[in-house]
Symmetry: C2
Subunit: 323 residues, 2 copies
């Protein structure tokens, strides 16, 4: 009971992991060899996303959820470029005193998410260190990619879901609100964010998307990045507010505006669309059970304005900065 990684030893831990690795179609190397391989033809996408316990796993967050989120985050970068995941590699740094059950939770989170998104975990690397650090590498494929570049004045701004519940969930976790039902709902959303792979694949077929990014650094930061790169601005007349976040904000007296715009780790797609093809795109996404919500439009003037309650507000740039 309560065994630690140190008690198991590296060799047996590697064996445990290798037994659970899967083979990619067309692989000539067995799972656990020095590199993963596959036959591939087409447009290859590769993303990586690193998560460190001290920064990205708030106290009270389950390691299974952290594993799920790590896979989601790397997958979201692939979806934002119009692709779908094929394979994952996972690089791990783990403290020797980590409990074996905690490690199993983390790994099961990886597996659960990978399966959901249709990719296989085919390899990785294992190290010891002072805290848990997870780097997920996602290998995907796309027909045609969607870049961050390409938004033009007159395009419609749209997102694949409502915002605020992730930030509310983090707020609730940090405040230790685990009993309240409103709080529990947003904590659940925070723990299990979804990458929008199906939506991205349907959108790619419509030719509607002119620019695409995910909202992992918060909606405001994503909008500022699109604004800078494309030298345009945005008028948001219908901000995408999550009803759960609204109830949480009201109940606990936090700023709903901040929850919606300055959260993060919300893996929605933030897209600009050719105005003539918006209806087609909305229907295409609904066809796979998703949502595509027009929230405003692209303007020439390089500023971002939001209609909020009693009038228009300028959206400031203040997102999370690592340094």
């Amino acid at each position: 009971m309560n065994r630690k990684l140190r008690d198991l030893g590296e060799r047996r831990l590697v064996e445990w992991i290798v037994r659970r690795l899967e083979e990619c179609e067309g692989a000539s190397l067995p799972p656990g060899d020095d590199a993963a391989d596959m036959l591939f033809r087409g447009r290859l996408l590769v993303s990586c996303d690193m998560l460190a316990a001290s920064t990205d796993i708030p106290p009270g967050m389950d390691l299974r959820d952290a594993g799920f989120k790590a896979i989601t985050s790397a997958t979201s970068d692939i979806a934002a470029k119009g692709g779908k995941p094929i394979a994952y590699l996972v690089s791990l740094m783990l403290p020797p005193e980590l409990g074996l059950e905690s490690f199993e939770d983390l790994w099961e989170g990886f597996e659960e998410a990978a399966k959901l998104y249709g990719g296989r975990i085919v390899g990785g690397d294992l190290n010891s260190g002072r805290e848990i650090v997870v780097d997920v590498i996602c290998i995907g494929e796309a027909g045609r990619t969607a870049s961050r570049l390409g938004a033009r004045p007159g395009d419609i701004l749209a997102v694949t879901g409502e915002f605020g519940s992730q930030a509310a969930g983090l707020h609730a976790l940090l405040a230790g609100r685990l009993e309240d039902p409103e709080a529990r709902r947003v904590v659940e959303r925070f723990s299990r964010p979804m990458a929008r792979v199906r939506e991205a694949l349907e959108l790619a077929k419509t030719s509607a998307v002119t620019a695409s990014i995910d909202s992992s650094d918060g909606l405001a930061e994503s909008l500022y990045q699109l604004s800078e790169l494309n030298d345009v601005g945005f008028l948001i007349d219908d901000p995408p507010i999550s009803a759960e976040a609204e109830r949480y904000a009201e109940k606990f007296g936090v700023s709903l505006f901040d929850l919606v715009f300055y959260g993060g780790e919300e893996y929605e797609l933030v897209l600009t669309l050719r105005s003539k093809l918006v209806e087609k795109a909305v229907k295409a996404v609904e066809g796979v059970g998703g949502r595509l919500i027009p929230i405003g439009r692209v303007i020439e003037e390089k500023l971002i304005k939001v209609r909020w309650a009693d009038g228009w507000r300028m959206l400031e740039r203040r997102g999370y900065q690592h340094f």
Copy 2:
């Protein structure tokens, strides 16, 4: 002067990095987009290698060398499978108090190595945390892969260089021996290990290789892994001793046997070869300025014996274990 990452801020650090990223041939996404992309056709190889300051960067080691070694390590896994690198992604965790010049050193080490091996740094991820953690992802290609599986009794065991100077270099660094010329020579070797890409590509053409692994965890550990996976043993009658390591061991009274077999971070290839094709393989590797040194042979009995000084010794399994 002496500015820190915290003073620069994340956005400007990302800009600095993105300016230095290169595009892959056939890329449709600009450097710095959410994922890297390329057109690809053939056998794709992917490896990753994580390095943590507390475990893998001994005091006194230059960050430029650490960067060089991180790229080398991921590249070596590709070479060991018979491939060559095309592109790298680099995931970084950095403490905010890291000096900007130190960061530049680290990055220049990445660039120097990537250029040497013929790959481009096309993307990555940036995070803050308690120590420096680098995860290098190497994307490569191979015609036919060389697996760890396939060694048969009667095959010849060979390596692409001599052993011991890496371990001696680490020993010298940890002992703070920076003045002594013998010590300085092995420290230099420790700081700049080379992945055997050219050698691997030539070997792939000869069809001589039956099993292949690199020696990143030490020669003994590589041999044990080949032994276990292939259910064979090895007789090593000509152990591959580096002359520098021999001089260092004599001068400072450390075990040469340990330096040769229980070091690590020596990125030589450890190969088994069809006996009839050994000569051809040796010549092929010499043709690109490399070396292929037969050191023994594969036997049926599952044990590893080494001829050393006055007789035969059994090689024990005791390599570095993270946990």
